[in-house]
């Protein structure tokens, strides 16, 4: 890229992304077009994603399914700007996902939520809020309310290094919601949780839906997906293999699990990418 093109691109991102951000509600929360990601390894080039395209509209809960190695985590990594695609583009509310502005209206919870063990739960939420530019009593109120909502008020002043797995997952969810995001991206939110913990996360997701938020979550827990999702996207071997509501995808008497297994067998389940 020439220096002039670099400057043009930088200026474009700076002004255009801000403008788009201001008029964001008209844009889809997630727009992915012809996304491809490949890695060079010692044994050759591995294609993690091959021309993935989909969009997620405002409101509702969308499940992002796929077997291990299908490319779910890679897709989320691109959506959140953790890595750049080899080709294609991903946009959040119209902003290129590589721009930090794109993440202003987004909350993200990582699988196996882990964070700075030296911070207390409350300090962690305050820090997360400050990274979104929140300040003062509004931030303190938001942190207290979220601690209450995820059931961690009693442990708010304990260091997160002493939290159990379930508490860390809930804290992960709380920090994802500190900026009152319009789009919440959850990566395996119920992974490793006991049945009580899972039910609690499901309740929280249902609560977000009733508030009109868009929830996009990746999972291979099909029963969870069936319970909470309005729409499902199925990724198999780096391709979107199916999309639609659970009712549309599953025929009478068939379960989502059965449909998924059939699809994975037809399209080749193991892509070998994490």
């Amino acid at each position: 890229m020439t220096p002039a093109a670099c400057l043009k691109r930088a200026a474009g991102i700076f002004f255009w992304e801000r403008l788009i951000h201001a008029v964001g509600p008209a844009m889809n929360p997630i727009q992915v077009e012809d996304l491809a990601v490949s890695y060079r390894t010692r044994s050759g080039v591995v294609e993690a994603l091959r021309g993935v395209s989909f969009s997620v509209e405002e409101g509702g809960v969308v499940g992002f399914l796929g077997p291990n190695g299908a490319g779910k985590t890679t897709t989320l990594n691109v959506l959140l700007g953790f890595e750049e695609p080899t080709s294609g583009r991903a946009r959040l509310y119209g902003c290129d996902s590589t721009s930090s502005i794109a993440r202003r209206r987004v909350g993200f919870m990582c699988e196996h939520s882990r964070t700075h063990p030296f911070l207390t739960g409350r300090e962690l939420l305050v820090m997360a809020g400050r990274l979104f530019g929140m300040r003062g009593s509004a931030l303190r109120r938001a942190a207290d309310s979220l601690l209450e909502r995820v059931g961690l008020s009693g442990a708010a002043d304990r260091r997160t290094g002493t939290y159990s797995r379930g508490m860390l997952q809930r804290m992960g969810l709380a920090q994802a919601l500190i900026n009152d995001p319009d789009l919440v991206i959850l990566d395996e939110p119920t992974s490793g949780l006991d049945p009580v913990g899972r039910a609690r996360v499901r309740e929280l997701i249902a609560g977000l839906r009733s508030e009109g938020k868009t929830v996009f979550f990746s999972s291979h827990e099909l029963s969870e997906v069936e319970l909470v999702c309005d729409r499902v996207l199925m990724l198999v071997a780096g391709h979107i293999a199916a999309s639609g509501s659970v009712d549309e995808l599953v025929r009478d008497g068939e379960s989502l699990e059965r449909y998924f297994l059939k699809l994975a067998a037809e399209r080749g389940g193991e892509g070998g990418v994490s």
Binding site: E84, S100, T115, R130, L131
Partner: protein, 261 residues
Amino acid sequence: MTRPLVLCHAVWLEVFRRRDFYVLLILMTAMFAWLLSADLFGSSAASRYVLDVGLLYAWGGSLILAVTAAARQLPRDEEIGAVFMMLAKPVTRWDMVFGKWLGTWSVSVGATVALYLAVLAVSALRGRMPDAVSVCQALLLHGCALGVVSALALAISTRMSFGAASTTAFVLLAADYAVVPKIPELIGGETGLRADLLLLLYKGLPHLEVFDLRRRLIHGWGAAPASAILISVAYGVAVTGALLALAWLGYRKKRFPRQGG
């Protein structure tokens, strides 16, 4: 600018809540207790010796703190997975690099000021007090050295684990202190390509010796000319900026391994 400050605050909390910081503090206390009680040779030179040892300790302690704290920040965030929580916010990679550097630099400068105050207090009790201007100049340049050192450790840590990055940074620092000031002597006996390479090394490597004013304090030579101090500060800022740019280049496209589907 606020996001780097938030990250800087997190570095302060991390350093103060780790046990190794308190090991340094206990060692410092033990050292000063010994300095205060020792009656070396029973002569007036003892007060100069106390200042010499105390300042050497202040330099050593602050450099260890700067290197270990800076080299730990980015690899530790990756190791525990906290980097995903941070980068999922409107935080750029530059914010991360600059915020971490600001945190480690400010914490090591804070520790250095405390160490200087302690050394000067012990020295004053021994009847020797360097002039205030010289002390401020020494502290200012010491702060510049810490900026360079923490940026160097941070730049190395973008591509290495904590252990490897801190070891490499310590080896480079030791080589820098021991070898770089001696290069002009080595060039004297060389010609051709070898001399050119040595000259390149001399000009390319950071000169930490320009920030070290300990001898002026110990021997009471008085304040250095303001122009020399200004040039040294400008040099420190330039080298720190170059190393931070290097750290950003190493970090901006970095992929972080994340297990999943």
